[in-house]
């Protein structure tokens, strides 16, 4: 576990010591055993039925969920007194990563254990947990979460579904339509959001058997075809008053808190999916011969494998660093206190910007991965006989649900600026300093004897650049900045690259001593390739932001700052890519 409790978003301002980040190399024997059980479950129980699952034979999904229940994979988050294991976030991320090999099954699993079960765990009364939790954590029942409606997706709080107290006061009558509900076809318990008296946004636990709950038809989807996605129609659906979850009028708290975890878990799941897709791509590149050689011998293919390997390395480093941050924070909360889960939610909320970063960055790494894996397959990647085609289709949804990547980008910048305004993050004062440094030339000599000195210096510079631009944006637009989405998006892009690159660099700095010479060389290569790509991406975003915000002399000055602060000496970049590609071709899988 990492030692220091950090403030969410402070990575943009403060430095982090490498000993303070959690890395996959820190997994305990138990955590590795959880991963092994999950991988074996997927290989033995899901992969053999993948095709039937893709054809929506949900009996295999339901049976798989039962087996997950027997293995204890559904009880990670529930409290011990409720029959759960109350494991740390590192453990549940690791299981989330390994379940990803199950394709569409993993969507059912994630929806059940995440948005399906967590609201009950965090907000349920003892009686509600007594009634439902055991069924969910044993896999006897599957769970679904009903927030989205045809008219309200990103703008979830504008939901139209209504709840009206019955005349005798015994139950609420729910009316409305919920859209795109994962597990809708076979779930037994639905967590439904509706407005009491068209005003008080409230959460309800609705059993499938309650009169008036109607399951709609399966949507015909581009990907994750083996997952169930239906409308849920509430037609005077009678829900007993004791099934109100949490407080009346406080449904939004449930909806948003659960999404924070969902975003972060999605990061772990897509990291797992990316590793699997990459391995498939490397194997194919080794096998496929053109012009008398395996295509893996061509630089053009090697570069793809190297870039993707480095990106997944960053994605993985980011996810587990965040898991460590959360676990460290959550471990400080006394389990005995009556408002434990409230404090727990606050603990998670602290890192809401990082959770959103995890969602956006990792899902986009998966997008890059599956795109290149299809390309490596050539025409065979376009045909469904090879798994590359399914990977490509299945990936797409990850940039849409759990908050679209646009909404999450807006949140990243929005939350950071809000914290700055509230004085929780000293962004303004730091931005002033950064602005001054723009006007003073730097004579600092780089001490290359320290490991990753060039990368760390670049990271510092990117942070300065972020502060310059955020400061300029706030100064120019003040409280109207929220309307300048293009600027918010660009700022988010820089923040995302900073957090990802920092996670990649700190992990390497922490672990490189303990590796063999060959592994060290690969690690250094991955850090170089990723730092280069991240810096270039941040530079483009920064330049855009500069043009969006400023003009005239200030613009010129900021643009020259962009040049200066995105300088990264990536000497040996080509050799680094070849090192990564060759090692990947030898092991035929993700390297780290």
């Amino acid at each position: 576990m990492t030692e220091k409790i950090r403030k969410g978003g402070d990575f943009l301002i403060a430095e982090t010591a490498c000993q303070d980040v959690f890395t996959p190399e820190d997994f305990s024997d138990e955590q590795r055993a959880f991963a092994e059980t999950t991988e074996k479950f997927v290989a033995d129980e899901i992969i053999p039925h993948l095709e039937e699952i893709e054809n929506q034979d949900f009996s295999h999904v339901v049976a798989g969920m039962r087996t997950c229940g027997e293995l204890g994979l559904l009880m990670m988050d529930a409290a011990e007194e409720d029959g759960g294991l109350e494991l740390d976030k590192v453990s549940s991320m690791l299981v989330g990563e390994k379940i990803a090999g199950g394709g569409s099954f993993s969507v059912a699993f994630s929806a059940h254990t995440g948005i399906g079960t967590l609201p009950l765990i965090y907000y349920g009364t003892a009686a509600q947990k007594e009634k439902y939790l055991d069924k969910l954590i044993t896999g006897q029942w599957c769970a679904a979460y009903c927030l989205t409606e045809p008219g309200s997706g990103s703008d979830a709080l504008s939901a139209q579904a209504t709840a009206t107290l019955s005349d005798d006061g015994s139950c609420y009558l729910l009316n409305g339509t919920k859209q795109y509900i994962t597990n809708g076809g076979f779930a037994e318990l639905f967590t439904v959001f509706a407005k009491i008296d068209k005003e008080h946004f409230t959460c309800f636990l609705v059993e499938k058997s309650f009169a008036g709950l109607i399951v709609g038809n399966e949507e015909k989807k581009m990907g994750i075809k083996g997952s169930s996605t239906t409308q849920i129609i509430l037609d005077n659906c009678r829900v007993p008053v004791e099934n109100v979850l949490g407080e009346i009028g406080k449904g939004h708290k449930i909806a948003f808190n659960v999404l924070n975890i969902g975003r972060f878990k999605l990061g772990a799941g897509v990291t797992g999916a990316a590793k699997i897709a990459l391995a498939e791509g490397i194997r194919y590149a080794n096998e496929r011969k053109q012009f008398g050689k395996p295509i893996a011998a061509f630089g053009a293919i090697q570069e793809k494998i190297a870039d993707v390997t480095a990106a997944i390395y960053a994605s993985e480093s980011l996810v587990y660093r965040l898991a460590g941050l959360l676990d460290t924070k959550l471990a400080t909360i006394d389990k005995g206190i009556p408002d434990y889960y409230e404090q727990y939610q606050k603990g998670i909320e602290e890192y809401a910007p990082e959770c959103a970063i995890s969602k956006v960055f990792c899902s986009e790494v998966l997008a890059q991965t599956v795109d290149e894996v299809v390309q490596i397959h050539g025409g065979y990647g376009f045909c469904s006989e090879y798994p590359a085609e399914r990977f490509y289709r299945d990936e797409r949804i990850n940039r849409i649900f759990e908050g679209t990547n646009e909404i999450n980008r807006l949140l990243i910048t929005g939350m950071i600026l809000r914290r700055a305004m509230k004085g929780e993050l000293p962004l303004q004062s730091e931005a002033m300093k950064a602005f001054e440094s723009l006007m003073t030339p730097s004579f600092d000599e780089l001490d290359d004897s320290a490991p990753f000195a060039a990368e760390k210096a670049t990271l510092q510079n990117l942070k300065t650049l972020y502060l310059v631009l955020a400061g300029a944006g706030v100064q120019k637009f003040m409280d109207k900045l929220a309307d300048e989405q293009e600027i918010l998006m660009a700022a988010a892009d820089i923040a995302i690259q900073i957090f990802a690159a920092e996670s990649a660099i700190l992990r390497a700095e922490k672990i490189h001593h303990s590796l063999s010479a060959a592994r060290q060389q690969q690690l250094i290569a991955a850090v170089k390739v990723f730092t280069f790509n991240a810096t270039e991406a941040a530079a483009t975003a920064a330049r855009k932001a500069a043009y969006y915000i400023e003009e005239g002399d200030t613009l010129t000055m900021i643009l020259s700052g962009v040049r200066r602060f995105t300088k990264y000496d990536a000497t040996g970049l080509l050799a680094a890519k070849r090192t990564l590609a060759q090692a990947a071709a030898e092991t035929e899988k993700y390297l780290f």
Partner: protein
């Protein structure tokens, strides 16, 4: 209460790329991932099943090797073994089967084990000797290469796999040692609750230096991957002919 012992080994993940080490006598151990020898998973499963059948029994799991093998012992504990014994030995990969068997026998001698389970062989060294040598050193019968196992009141009835796939029905009375073949049962996955429970089970460390080991009888002179050779055989003739030849080849290889 009956006492059972299962002896397991930690081996590299067989999907790893192996390199011969600088001595040229073993593989390079750095950068490898480690797991339980696959044959031993069947041994652990059978031992746990027997323990469950007996109701009252204590199953000890023993593993020799460096510190990293604890992870593999914990897996056996999570599968249902009651206590773990780790014989700490950083040199175990250099020892010959008799030395390993002697360590196990020294441990087992005073303890009255009703039954000892081992895998048929290890996936890395593959000598298939350790189990049988332990039995010999303890003066108890050994049944090897089991594909079926039953125990009833001091008698083991089992099927052994013979060359070419035929099976021999054998029995003996306990105490005895059995070596387990792949496919003997379906090794269970450790469940998450059991992985957590295993954390609280006893895991004792025994330094191996206290034991007197017999002088090595075997020495590895050199190790090398097999020379690369084209091994394709082109089958010729009409379709029926080719199919018959192919069937013959498959039969021969099975």
């Amino acid at each position: 209460m009956k006492k059972l012992l299962v002896c397991i080994k930690q081996v590299p993940d067989m999907e790893s790329r192996f390199k011969v080490n600088t001595d040229g006598t073993w593989y390079e151990e750095t950068d490898l991932a480690w797991r339980m020898n696959e044959y031993d998973e069947y041994a652990v499963e059978q031992a746990v099943q027997l323990k469950e059948q007996l109701g009252e029994a204590e199953l000890t799991v023993l593993c020799i090797g460096p510190d990293r093998v604890k992870e593999t012992i914990k897996k056996a504990l999570a599968m249902g073994a009651d206590r773990g014994v780790h014989m700490t030995d950083n040199e175990s990969h250099l020892r010959d089967p008799l030395a390993i068997a002697s360590m196990i026998a020294d441990f087992a001698r005073q303890q009255d084990f009703e039954l000892i389970f081992t895998g048929m062989q290890s996936q890395d060294r593959g000598s298939a000797q350790v189990g049988v040598l332990v039995a010999e050193l303890l003066g108890i019968p050994a049944l090897t290469t089991l594909v079926e196992f039953a125990y009833d009141q001091g008698t083991i009835t089992a099927k052994r796999e013979l060359e070419g796939g035929s099976r021999a029905l054998v029995s003996c009375s306990t105490p005895a040692l059995v070596t387990c073949q792949l496919g003997l049962n379906r090794p269970r996955y450790p469940t998450l609750p059991n992985i957590m429970k295993a954390k609280k089970k006893e895991l004792a460390s025994l330094p191996v230096t206290d034991l007197k080991l017999p002088p090595a009888q075997l020495k590895t002179a050199a190790m090398a991957p097999p020379p690369k050779r084209g091994s394709a055989r082109i089958l010729e003739g009409d379709t029926g002919d080719v199919a018959a030849q192919l069937a013959a080849v498959i039969k021969e290889k099975m």
